[in-house]
């Protein structure tokens, strides 16, 4: 656990792999998302195309902060690409 009360570790699951990043509890989730994508080498698509979901599958607002979302140390989040779907007849 970090000694800095404003620092928080989040674990992003990207295509089945855990990517742990440190972020500030007051910084929007999109900052941690960008960091996780960069560290995992998933830079082929813009970060905005990646959805952040909780372990229960709930879609999270990337502009919300960990503090506002009550995220705890080592909370696990899913990063998945926005899905194109349907339209087939």
């Amino acid at each position: 656990m970090s000694n800095n009360p404003n620092s928080l570790s989040l674990v992003f699951i990207i295509n089945g792999e855990d990517v742990s990043v440190k972020t500030n509890v007051h910084a929007p989730l999109e900052a941690a998302r960008a960091k996780a994508l960069a560290e995992s080498g998933n830079t082929g698509r813009p970060p905005e195309e990646w959805e952040i979901r909780s372990e229960s599958g709930a879609l999270l607002d990337p502009h919300a902060t960990p503090e506002a979302l009550h995220l705890k140390e080592n909370t696990r989040l899913f990063l998945t690409l926005k899905v194109g779907a349907g339209g087939c007849r």
Binding site: G16, E17, G57, L59, L81, G86
Partner: protein, 213 residues
């Protein structure tokens, strides 16, 4: 273009390994990988959201001397904790992965026979604008079978109506885990079955899309 068999197997093993490290997550979804033998990974999904029973209640015909025109049918909702949606099997075909996208087919979890469309879970996807689309469809033009119409699946990228959305654009970000995640999110987590008893006495299934945002 076919992938070198040795390369294909290594990629298969890498994908399976990634899923194996997330077994606790999968279990929390009700997803159980029951077999992993190249090029197939078989998984069983067990929905657990309780089914709801909707029974019509006597609508208010009037208030005193006032007769209400066209009184609406109202329903009382009863959650059935012992009942949930039907378990189903999914086979992920990783032939020539990741040169080709993962293929998805639906199976009876007891016999592993292909499931007919009428026995499939309702697969729904809600986009960021709140628009809901059905993504489990019948009659793929090539396989002639039910299919999951989601980006990242073989059936989507090889469907004539998606010829402009090439798998090559997405292959780096999609794999076995993302495919299982997509099945869970659209066919299990995002849909709850409601059994509605209509005023005419006939039962009717209403699939309720959970608002997960």
């Amino acid at each position: 273009m076919r992938l070198d068999p040795a390369v294909a197997r290594r990629k298969f093993e890498r994908e399976v390994e990634r899923v194996e490290t997330q077994v606790a997550v999968l279990r929390s979804w009700g997803c159980f990988v029951v077999r992993a033998a190249y090029p197939h990974v078989d998984a069983v999904f067990m929905p657990r959201k309780p089914m709801r029973l909707l029974l019509p209640v006597k609508s208010q015909q009037g208030q005193g001397l006032i007769v209400l025109p066209n009184p609406q049918v109202q329903f009382a909702l009863f959650e059935q904790p012992a009942l949930a949606g039907r378990a189903f099997g999914v086979r992920i075909n990783l032939s020539d992965f990741d040169q080709r996208a993962p293929g998805v087919s639906f199976h009876d979890p007891f016999t592993w026979e292909l499931l007919p469309y009428a026995s499939l879970p309702l697969g729904q996807h809600t986009d960021e604008h709140g628009k809901t689309l059905r993504v489990v469809l019948d009659g793929h033009p090539t396989t002639k079978r039910p299919f999951l119409c989601l980006r990242g699946t073989l059936e989507y990228h090889e469907h004539p109506q998606h010829s402009g959305d090439e798998w090559a654009l997405w292959r780096d970000q999609c794999g076995l885990f993302t495919t299982l995640f997509a099945v869970w999110r659209t066919c299990v987590e995002g849909a709850r079955p409601n059994l509605m008893l209509q005023p005419n006495g006939r039962p009717f299934i209403v699939w309720e899309m959970e608002q997960v945002a």
